[in-house]
C-alpha cells in the first residue's frame, strides 16, 4: 500500500505507519492529496477498562473524556452506547507492545471485579428500599453480579502489580462465598418454595462457586495445552519444510556445483547458498566450543566468496577457549587460508581439533609450496600475521611446505596441557 491520502484506508494498524511522517509535514489545506492521515484505530495497552474510548479518541483526534461521555449518553438509547462499546471492544485490535512489560498483556487501571463486588450491596440496598426488587430478584441479582465478578476475574482481568497480592484470590473467594450463600438461601426456600426451579438454581450457584475455586487451574492447563500444541505444529511444519527443501533445493545446488566445476563462479555461489540454507534449516543448539568452529566456518565462507577456491572445514571436539586465544586462532587461520587461496588455489582443507589440553588448526593446500626462509622480510603474511600472532597469544604455528602442498599448523597453548 502506498501513502494513501484517504483516511478511511488507514484501517486497524495496517500500512499507516510509514505514511505518518510524510503526512505531518504537509498542510491539510493545500491539496486534498496531502491530508494528514488519522492514526490507526487501535486500543492502547495501558487502559482504564478496555481501552476502547482511548483508542477511538486517538483515532478521531478528540479527548478521551469526551468519547467516554458519548458512550454514556448513548447508553440509555436502547443500550446503543453499551452495544457500540462492546462491539468496538471485540473488534478493535490492540496496539503492538512497545516494551517487554507491555507485551505481557493489557494493563488495566481499574480493578473491575472488585468494583463490581462493591456495587453489589448498593444495588441490593437501593432495590429493596425502593421496593423494585422482590426477595427472589435480590437473590438473582446478587448471583448474577457474583457470576460476573468471577467471569471477569477469570477471563479478562490481569492484576496490576501495584494492587495487593490477595486481590485476585480475595475477590474470587468473596464472590464464591456470596454465591454459596445465595445457593443456601434458595435451597432453604426462603424466597420461593416452588421446588424444582429453586433446587436447580441452587445447584447451579453451587456449581459456579465450586468452578471458581478450580477454574484457574483448569484455565492454566488448557492454555499450556494450547501453546504446546502450537509449538508442536510449528515444529512439524518446520521439519516438513526442511525435508522438502532438502530433497529439492539442496539437491539442485549440489548438482549445480557438480556440473559447473568446483572452482567456477557458479559453483561458488551455489555452495555459499547451500551453506546458508543448511545453516538455516538445521541450526540446532550450538554446543560449547562450537563457537570457534562456527567462526572458522565463517572465515572459510568469506574466503570462498573472494577467491575461486573450495574450503572444507572439519571441526571436532569441544572446549572453552579464552577469548584472546580464540581471536588469535581465527585471525591466523584466516591469514593461512587466504594465503593458500592466493598462492595455491583449488581445494583447501581446514581441520580443527578442539580439546581441553590443546586446540589445533591444520590448514592444508595442494599448491606448489614455498620456502619460508626465502620469503623476503618485508612480506608480513606468514611470519607476522600467523607465526607472530600465535606466539603473542601463547600459542605456536609451524609451516610445512613441499612440492605437493603446504600445511600450516596452529596450536594453542604452545605445549599440550599447559595454559600460559
Amino acid at each position: 500500500m502506498g501513502c494513501s491520502p484517504d483516511p478511511s484506508l488507514t484501517g486497524p494498524g495496517r500500512g499507516a505507519g510509514p505514511c505518518l511522517d510524510a503526512g505531518v509535514t504537509a498542510t491539510a489545506t493545500t491539496a486534498p492529496a496531502e491530508i494528514e492521515p488519522r492514526p490507526p484505530l487501535l486500543r492502547p495497552r495501558r487502559v482504564l477498562l478496555a481501552g476502547v474510548s482511548a483508542g477511538v479518541a486517538r483515532h478521531l483526534g478528540r479527548r478521551t473524556a469526551t468519547v467516554r461521555w458519548w458512550f454514556l449518553l448513548l447508553a440509555p438509547l436502547g443500550g446503543a452506547g453499551v452495544l457500540l462499546y462492546l462491539w468496538l471492544w471485540a473488534f478493535t485490535p490492540v496496539a503492538e507492545p512497545a516494551d517487554a512489560e507491555e507485551a505481557k498483556g493489557l494493563r488495566r487501571a481499574s480493578p473491575v471485579a472488585f468494583q463490581l463486588l462493591l456495587l453489589l450491596p448498593g444495588v441490593l440496598l437501593v432495590g429493596l428500599v425502593l421496593g423494585v426488587l422482590s426477595r427472589f430478584g435480590a437473590l438473582a441479582v446478587s448471583a448474577l453480579i457474583c457470576c460476573a465478578v468471577i467471569a471477569w476475574s477469570l477471563g479478562v482481568d490481569r492484576r496490576d502489580p501495584s494492587w495487593p497480592a490477595w486481590y485476585t484470590s480475595g475477590t474470587r473467594l468473596v464472590a464464591a462465598g456470596v454465591l454459596l450463600l445465595c445457593a443456601l438461601f434458595a435451597a432453604l426456600g426462603v424466597t420461593n418454595p416452588q421446588g424444582v426451579a429453586t433446587v436447580l438454581l441452587a445447584s447451579a450457584f453451587a456449581l459456579v462457586a465450586l468452578g471458581t475455586l478450580f477454574a484457574p487451574r483448569v484455565v492454566k492447563l488448557w492454555s499450556e495445552l494450547g501453546s504446546e500444541r502450537v509449538a508442536r505444529v510449528k515444529e512439524e511444519q518446520r521439519a516438513e519444510m526442511a525435508a522438502h527443501l532438502h530433497d529439492s533445493v539442496l539437491q539442485t545446488l549440489a548438482v549445480i556445483q557438480n556440473r559447473a566445476g568446483a572452482s567456477s563462479e557458479v559453483a561458488r555461489l551455489a555452495r555459499a547458498q547451500e551453506r546458508e540454507l543448511r545453516d538455516w534449516l538445521f541450526a540446532g543448539p550450538a554446543p560449547v566450543g562450537a563457537d570457534l568452529a562456527a567462526r572458522l566456518r565463517e572465515v572459510a565462507e568469506t574466503v570462498e566468496l573472494e577467491h575461486p577456491v573450495v574450503v572444507d572445514v572439519v571441526a571436532i571436539g569441544e572446549a572453552v577457549l579464552p577469548e584472546e586465544a580464540g581471536q588469535a586462532l581465527v585471525a591466523a587461520t584466516r591469514e593461512a587460508v587466504v594465503n593458500a587461496a592466493r598462492h595455491a588455489g583449488g581445494d583447501i582443507s581446514v581441520y580443527v581439533e578442539i580439546a581441553a589440553a590443546q586446540t589445533e588448526v591444520f590448514v592444508r593446500d595442494r599448491g606448489a609450496g614455498f620456502d619460508l626462509a626465502a620469503v623476503p622480510d618485508g612480506r608480513l603474511g606468514v611470519r607476522e600475521s600467523i607465526i607472530g600472532r600465535m606466539q603473542r597469544a601463547g600459542g605456536a604455528a609451524t609451516v610445512r611446505s613441499s612440492g605437493a602442498g603446504t600445511e600450516i599448523v596452529l596450536r594453542w597453548p604452545e605445549t599440550e596441557g599447559r595454559r600460559p
Partner: protein
C-alpha cells in the same frame, strides 16, 4: 584390477543427478541400471548384481528408511555399497554405514573422484572423506584422548587408527597418509577398514544417538 569393467547401479531419486553422474563417470565403469526408490533399488540390485551400488542416503518409498533400508532389505551378495549424500555431514550417513555401506562421498564430488571411490570400494576397501573421518574421531572420543587398549576393542580407536583418521581429516589422500606415517598404502587401507568395522559394530551411544536424532537429514 582385471580388464573387465566394474559394474555399477546408480540409485537416486533425482533423474537429473542420475544422468549427470552417469555422464561423468569414467570409462572403466559400466552403468547397468538406475533406480529412484527403495523398492526399485532393491529389485535392481538383486536382478543386476552390480559390483558397486551408488546409493543416495535419502530415498522415497519402502518404509521410509532411505538408503539404509535398501541395504538391510536387499540380498547384496557380492555387491558393495558406496553411499552418496547431498551434504558432507557425517550424521547423514552413519545410518547407511551402519547398515553396511563401505564408504561415502558427497554429491559435490567430481566424476573422477566418484570413479576412484568406486574402484576403491570394489577392491574391498573403505572410502572415508575428511568430514567422515572427523565425525569418527569425534564419535569415538578422540579429542578427549580416549584410546583403545587392544585392537579388538570396538568402542575406541587404537593409536594408529586415530593417527590415520586425523590425517584423512586434515585432507591427506591414502598415499600421503602412508608416506607421512612411513607405512604402506595397504596398511592404511587396513586401518581404515578396521575403523569402518568399528563404526558399523560399535555400540557407543553417540553413534546410535546421532543416527536417530538426525533422522530429519
Amino acid at each position: 584390477m582385471t580388464d573387465a569393467k566394474l559394474t555399477v547401479v546408480i540409485v537416486d531419486d533425482h533423474s537429473i543427478f542420475r544422468s549427470g553422474l552417469r555422464a561423468d563417470l569414467d570409462d572403466s565403469l559400466e552403468v547397468l541400471g538406475e533406480a529412484a526408490t527403495v523398492d526399485e533399488a532393491v529389485e535392481a540390485i538383486e536382478r543386476l548384481q552390480p559390483d558397486v551400488v551408488l546409493l543416495d542416503v535419502h530415498l522415497p518409498g519402502g518404509k521410509g528408511g532411505g538408503g539404509a533400508e535398501v541395504l538391510r532389505t536387499a540380498q547384496l551378495g557380492r555387491t558393495k555399497a558406496l553411499a552418496l549424500s547431498v551434504s558432507d555431514s557425517a550424521e547423514d550417513v552413519v545410518g547407511v554405514i551402519r547398515a553396511g555401506a563401505r564408504g561415502y562421498i558427497t554429491k559435490g564430488s567430481s566424476g573422477p573422484q566418484v570413479s576412484r571411490a568406486v574402484a576403491t570400494i570394489a577392491g574391498g576397501d573403505a572410502v572415508f572423506s575428511p568430514r567422515l573421518a572427523g565425525f569418527v574421531l569425534d564419535a569415538f572420543g578422540a579429542p578427549a584422548g580416549e584410546q583403545a587398549e587392544t585392537d579388538a576393542e570396538l568402542d575406541r580407536l587404537s593409536k594408529r587408527e586415530r593417527e590415520v583418521m586425523r590425517l584423512i581429516a586434515r585432507g591427506f589422500a591414502y598415499k600421503e597418509v602412508a608416506t607421512e606415517l612411513f607405512i604402506s598404502i595397504k596398511t592404511v587401507e587396513t586401518h581404515v577398514s578396521a575403523v569402518l568395522r568399528k563404526l558399523q559394530l560399535s555400540s557407543r551411544h553417540e553413534l546410535t544417538a546421532w543416527a536417530l536424532e538426525r533422522k530429519l537429514l
